[in-house]
Symmetry: C2
Subunit: 563 residues, 2 copies
């Protein structure tokens, strides 16, 4: 048997995984990896933590858990893979099954393949504005970017940076630079940061980032970058504001890197990524593709999407590597869209569809917001605010998001499985999760969120979100706002919208103090709105017909308080 040759283009995440899987499954296959950068298997999601100075050794981004740098010698010895670094694939001749390459030393050559795997990744988007080529305008996409930003940050305490884009990378870059002592302003053209979150939750994260010293401007685009002698000096916003700065980080997203695939005539999908089937095969059965350069199926909508995440790149690469050597046998099921990021002392995570995205996808949704501590109070609990989104007709959970200083990680991880498993709200309401006080509440936070949504779906609770409540306040119509917390809590902080305080324990005896009109609109709340919900039940039994609960209570109220 003549050994198969597998050529893999791209050496960051999907590429090395595909190559390693292929090599392990067929020890006789010749596996060759082409990598344009000098480094291999960079932990690119770790760049912000390197920039922040959390660790100093760049090798940590490049080595295995046992501390070996993943260089060509490592790939040859441990994996049986020939890794050619600083080597760029220039073109693909699909008919002859040959890749042509050039390298940094000026050499070039041709590589015949039996199977080719494209893992060409993504390129950062750059807005078409003046000044984008000024020195000091950068992205945080490559190891070279990270090195440059790290060495800048090391000596720039007190200097000013503007981060364009308040998405995941933008907020991570913001935190990294803040930690390095830089004065950071994030500029986000959309009305909120972290587009994967609905507004109620995004605002809480925004408040927290501001409290930590970051400046955040939303709803205003960038119009130009300006400077002198080719060096950045300021960012000009669409509303005329000028932000003086020494560094601009462009973080408005990435686009799939498909130049090679396009030139080779491979099919490109509607979203601009390389089109692949469930086997990660492109329109050419001898060519697979994986990672940021492809578009994959959203398991909830059934539609294709771009999903440039490091974890998916690895899973896709594993499938591509296997199918390339064994023939199409393993299917990649697609994504539900799961993301998590650290924003100072907060974590923000989302899995599945947000309410906004679910509505855009045509779902008729019901939602619930839950604010509650992650653990019992005696264990040093920290708050969590979450939102669950379900399909109204079937009760299927479409998405879950969670933010706060508490253990968001557990919540988002368990819910990612629940969403992918197609669980309904009723099923989540009965989940059997590990419980002990150091790890969760007796009724886990996400289970409690499911209980709230269950109550709403059954008409037991009429809840509105903080955003809806604010709209109600702003509308200025007749509204009785009822705070059912205790006197001590009321002294500490207030909603400040003309509310009346009647502690829950007294409500049954003081119903006569409420509006005489039983059809009056009453909005009840407390710290987290558990008591607010009890109040609604009491008032409804007293004959009131329009009692609403402000979900998540004061803890989830993002307009005056910080969580």
């Amino acid at each position: 048997m003549i050994a198969k040759r597998i050529v893999v283009i791209g050496g960051t995440a999907a590429g090395p995984k595909a190559a390693a899987r292929a090599s392990r499954l067929d020890q006789n296959a010749e596996v060759i990896l082409l990598q344009k950068a000098p480094e291999l298997s960079m932990a690119s999601c770790g760049y912000p933590y390197y920039v922040s100075g959390m660790f100093k050794e760049r090798e940590k981004l490049l080595c295995t858990p046992s501390g070996v740098v993943r260089d060509p010698a490592f790939f040859a010895g441990a994996k049986g893979i020939t890794a050619m670094v600083e080597t760029e694939a220039v073109s693909i001749d699909r008919e002859s099954k040959v890749v042509s390459w050039i390298n940094a030393a000026g050499n070039n050559g041709l590589l015949a393949y039996d199977k080719l795997i494209l893992c060409t990744g993504s390129v950062p988007k750059m807005p078409p504005i003046p000044g984008r080529d000024l020195k000091g305008v950068t992205t945080l996409h490559s190891m070279a970017d990270a090195d440059a930003m790290r060495s800048w940050a090391e000596h720039s305490s007190g200097k000013k940076a503007v981060v364009i884009g308040g998405g995941l990378i933008g907020m991570e870059a913001c935190e990294a630079l803040c930690h390095a002592g830089v004065d950071v302003t994030v500029v986000e053209a959309l009305p909120q940061i972290l587009g994967f979150l609905d507004t109620e939750l995004a605002l809480l994260v925004e408040n927290h980032a501001r409290a930590k010293g970051a400046k955040i401007i939303t709803g205003v685009g960038l119009s130009a970058l300006e400077g002198e002698n080719g060096q950045i000096g300021s960012a000009r916003l669409a509303d005329g504001r000028v932000l003086p700065c020494d560094l601009v980080v462009m973080a408005i997203g990435v686009a799939p890197n498909t130049a090679l695939a396009k030139a080779a005539g491979l099919e490109i999908g509607a979203f601009g990524g390389i089109a692949v089937n469930d086997f990660m095969a492109t329109s050419d059965p001898n060519i697979y593709a994986a990672g940021d350069c492809v578009e994959i199926t959203n398991r909830l909508t059934g539609k294709k999407m771009l999903a440039p995440y490091g974890d998916l790149a690895n899973l896709e690469g594993r499938v591509a590597g296997e199918n390339a050597v064994l023939g199409d046998s393993v299917r990649f099921p697609g994504t539900i869209g799961s993301g998590i990021c650290k924003v100072f002392d907060f974590t923000a995570a989302s899995t599945g569809l947000s309410e906004r995205r679910a509505r855009e996808a045509g779902f008729d949704v019901v939602t619930a917001i839950n604010a509650s501590p992650d653990k019992p109070g005696f264990m040093g609990a920290k708050p969590l605010v979450s939102k669950m989104v379900a399909d109204r007709a079937t009760g299927r959970i479409l998405g879950f998001a969670c933010v706060g200083p508490g253990d968001v990680n557990r919540q988002a991880s368990e819910m990612a499985v629940a969403v992918a498993a197609g669980w309904t709200v009723d099923e989540m309401a009965m989940a059997d999760l590990p419980y002990a006080p150091p790890y969760s509440q007796a009724i886990d936070h996400a289970i409690a969120t499911a209980h709230i949504l269950q109550n709403k779906m059954r008409g037991l609770m009429t809840g509105i979100s903080s955003v809806e409540a604010k709209a109600l306040f702003d509308a200025g119509g007749p509204l009785y706002i009822l705070d059912v917390r205790g006197h001590d809590e009321f002294k500490e902080n207030q909603l400040g919208r003309g509310e009346t305080l009647i502690p829950l324990g007294q409500l049954r005896g003081r119903v006569n103090e409420l509006p005489k009109d039983k059809n009056a609109t009453i909005l009840s709340f407390c710290k987290v709105s558990m008591r607010g919900y009890e109040a609604q039940r009491i008032l409804e039994s007293a004959g009131y017909t329009d009692v609403r609960v402000m979900e998540g209570g004061l803890m989830a109220w993002p307009y005056t308080n910080e969580l």
Copy 2:
């Protein structure tokens, strides 16, 4: 309409939850809660942390997240529930639907009910041995126990305690007393602590507890407690050893408290718990039961079992409370068996069936062990060791356990949903979980465990556990043991079983140093056995037919090293 009266017996976890749910769903119902203890809604799972001195205020075990103590006034005002504390239900007249009670003040009375909910909890098991009534012999079951143990521990630094039972409560009590400066010995009659874990993982926890200063004796029972003047002085073990001590904590488990139910003629199940159907209704349709006193269905085996856990008590109570007021409408789906506990700096968790329990239940299982860091190294990763158990024929995941200083909580929580959802190993291998370096590896630990199990099930990897490897060593047959780590790692620590070191990177070139007999048994390993697995693939392609990988490598080896 005449208001319904719901009487709930028991005020710890299931009872208050059932009462609150009933009251919320039917504001007109009269809900009366009888509680024998003076306290209500005690966070009994928090007792060990109170005993350890982690917090000093006992009220923290009794109050709501907003700091209000859950006393009868709170229940009346906030919940509309009449809570009668220090009041014991003496008997139930099912025909007349009346409960008779007495209270601490010496009063007694009768309470008619429309629906009755029994949440009588459990009683700690006591072994039938001499000396069990000595002063200084206690359990950690009630608030009174916790108060007494707390005040003892406060002034007993340097004193000696013996904990009988190395289960969840036993190990928590052990840690609590160690933190208080007490010299603690745990005595477990079974060959290992933490019976919900398989041996490979339990031994790692045991090593850790020992390293933290706890003494642990396994495989030896208690034969007598001895003392003078009615005060405990020592514990005598079955092997003749005598352990001097000032305190003995009995933690050999709990039994359902069914005295009242039995006397009333309600059906009791095969495991000694009150028999209930899916609606949490007993054999009397007017009487429901929930919490530690009932037996429930294991969703994996379909068989009944006792599951005395605080989280389940809450979920069961919610169902019982709802069905009691609205008629049987909500079903409790049963348990998969999820538990987690803190043992010093380790967490130990399990969900679903261990290998041992799966085999006992008649499953033909395949398993895999994975040792790997919870996060990337540059984020300050901590180790995790996990074991996944699946049904061989269908690939359905039956159980997952995880121990270590890393973030076990995320792993066990996501896997609890996967097990309950009936996911197969292949489904878990493609899970789409939230990933960022502060929260997990790019390939999440549990996904990696699924990958290992997938490789085993497909015959790509032949792995054996540490326990099986030790049996192989002990058997003394011909065996070539191959360590494929680097020279530096080898210098640091060794398995010490006569192994040969050939770093993986050199293996392809040094195959000639291995046994000439291609049928020789070779056991390969490394730090976590990822490289051990690569070595197996290389050797098999070189013609070796019996290469096995020691799963989890040195990190999961419990006989000489500490994790």
